[in-house]
Symmetry: C2
Subunit: 393 residues, 2 copies
């Protein structure tokens, strides 16, 4: 089939706060071809990612993403890889391109899966799809008491693994952080897996991060996530050496496979976290899952938004039995839940699996998205380059 | 003073071709404060970079670039660094942000220099500004004969160093490339410095690049630039080991200091090429110049557009006497030349210097830009977020 159309739907909550909650808006992508549609989702900044699909060409290697996608043939996974390579080369000087293409690429897999009646994980070469232990991913409360209550809620909802991130961590002294850590552990009880996400707060300050290690060890945190900014490889390596018990986790910012590989090769991390909505989609994420497995590093998805994004993020490591954890958006905004009619609900032992259905196996529910739709209009010299399509076509 | 306004002017040639010629469009930035204006230029994709300045916030660390710039205090270089750090953190999930901020940051230096009556290189801490050997940077011809003629033209114009890049190189067999290389050397004569730019054509294929090394040695190329894509550090390192005579040059794609540092640390390059219009501006470029000097790697600017961008790209290493080469746009499009009323013309021995004038020392000539101005209009939900300002205000 031919890729006939690519449409974007910018969705947002009525109010956007400065919380580090990425589920407050979304960029949904619909790809049409051969009488079928596929769905994907870009992470993040919807308006900018739309612009990168439709912008005028600047020169030969700064072309809009759309130029390498529209009209292309799509019959097999090799076609997706070919299109991805063309985007990477033709848009090498267009920085936003990988974020834009990530959602498009997901939608290409979804479309191909639907046309061939295969789940994406099978198209990726996996024979089996293993259930993953869902960890409830959420933000720290403003106070330790709030964090304690959120921990109890997650346990009451059946989660045996929970992550707390961002919020006040690193913004005051180590003692304040300790109170948050202790509250999280207290709320979870002794058995649950506890993960801590520092949200890059120490930039590249190894000592500041290391000052928290004794407390992270005492609460038996499995990992410390993103203590530093995404490029601070030597800071990661230095902290990893000082932290034999609490492993480091990072990688969500990777917008190509090289960045994730460098984090594994030079950063000393124990867990590599990949956002299929940023790294260029499912294909690059699968390449990192394979590379992680070969190195003894554990692959984990990075997902804080919809169940469409969650399904996409489960595909790349669905067949890797030993890579057990899955980030599960615990309290996303209503918008994120409205994107799909079906949801990947954890089973009684707190596990989720990539759907055993064609494509990504998620039913996008356009009728529920109308309240969130942002009407975008971009024109150059009076000529409209992009206008939000009607939701129902 | 306060940063009162930031305006963008998207400029383009009437026709944009698929040549790898980045001077076909430009995004000019004007920052106003304290009764003065400063000018900068973003590389590349004007429409997308504008969108990253004005887009609605997605969440706490995916804010528009403008949020961290407008209304800020600007009294000293430390203020520019503080604003840059805030953009880096608050827009960490907005991939295009560094390209957008690069032009803004240049304009902040220009504004600060004008207000303090100091050239930017002095604000950066340099006592002296050393002349650089300008190399005429241009594309390979479609045929060896065309390349030979371009080489002769550059020599006739007084250049003693010339770079050829992109075009047919790597697209056929090594023998075809050899003919291009020989033509370039023949046109230049034996004495001139010759540089070759492969434009990432071999992606990460070390053997394909290595197949060209004997010919590059025989024409005495000083460097081979960007044989691989920007993240292929291990391919760079492998080729560097196989190429004792022809040094590798790379770094133009770096959109933060970490990327450039990784290229120096892990890629085995001899020359690090920084585009101040991509890496986040003049401050980060200066940090890489210092790091390069400390490692015995030579810093070179990457500039293929206007003389405003050229002045900005000269500042970060103006005071480093041993870092002698300067990329000089040899045949840019008329648009690029029209951006400034004054130009950095090489002296009789082919040298250029950063101006010894306040700020960047370039006079932006708005009156000549009208034919190139692209009127952009971006709205969300009927509310205009960006509209191209009038050229003359």
């Amino acid at each position: 089939m031919k890729i006939e159309a690519v449409d974007f739907f910018y969705l947002a909550m009525p109010e956007i706060t400065d919380e580090a909650d990425g589920s407050q808006d979304a960029l949904l992508v619909r790809v049409a071809g051969g009488g079928e549609v596929g769905w994907g989702e870009c992470e993040a900044s919807p308006l900018v990612s739309i612009a990168a699909f439709i912008c005028p060409m600047s020169h030969g290697v700064c072309r809009p993403v759309g130029a390498a996608v529209l009209g292309q043939r799509l019959e097999s996974p090799a076609d997706i890889a070919r299109i991805a390579a063309q985007v990477a080369y033709d848009s090498m000087d267009l920085l936003q391109a990988p974020h834009t293409f990530s959602g498009v690429e997901m939608a290409l897999w979804d479309l191909l899966g639907k046309k061939t009646s295969e789940p994406v994980w099978r198209l990726l070469g996996y024979e089996r799809c293993f259930a993953k232990q869902a960890y409830a991913s959420q933000l720290f409360g403003d106070t330790p008491q709030q964090t304690l209550e959120r921990a109890r809620l997650a346990r009451a909802a059946g989660f045996v693994a929970v992550k707390f991130g961002w919020g006040p961590i690193g913004r005051a002294d180590p003692k304040s952080d300790r109170e948050q850590f202790l509250a999280a552990r207290e709320g979870l009880g002794r058995e649950a897996t506890l993960l801590i996400d520092a949200g890059q707060i120490w930039r590249d300050d190894v000592d500041a991060a290391a000052a928290r290690l004794p407390d992270l060890e005492s609460i038996q945190a499995l990992w410390l996530e993103e203590p530093f900014n995404a490029g601070a490889l030597s800071a990661y390596a230095a902290l990893a050496k000082r932290s034999p018990k609490v492993k480091l986790a990072a990688g969500e910012a990777a917008h190509n496979t090289a960045m994730a590989e460098h984090m594994m090769l030079y950063g000393g991390i124990g867990f590599v976290q990949i956002d299929t909505g940023r790294i260029g989609g499912i294909g690059p994420a699968k390449a990192i899952a394979d590379a992680a497995a070969a190195r003894g590093i554990t692959f984990v998805n990075h997902t804080f938004t919809s169940h469409l994004a969650l399904s996409a993020s489960l595909q790349p490591y669905a067949g890797l039995e030993g890579h057990r954890l899955c980030e599960y958006p615990f309290s996303p905004k209503t918008l994120a839940l409205a994107i799909t009619a079906n949801h990947l609900t954890p089973n009684p032992v707190g596990e989720v699996s990539a759907p055993d259905k064609p494509g990504l196996g998620m039913d996008v529910d356009l009728s529920r998205l109308k309240p969130y739709l942002q009407a975008v209009d971009i024109s150059v010299n009076g000529q409209s380059l992009y206008r939000t399509p009607d939701l129902i076509q």
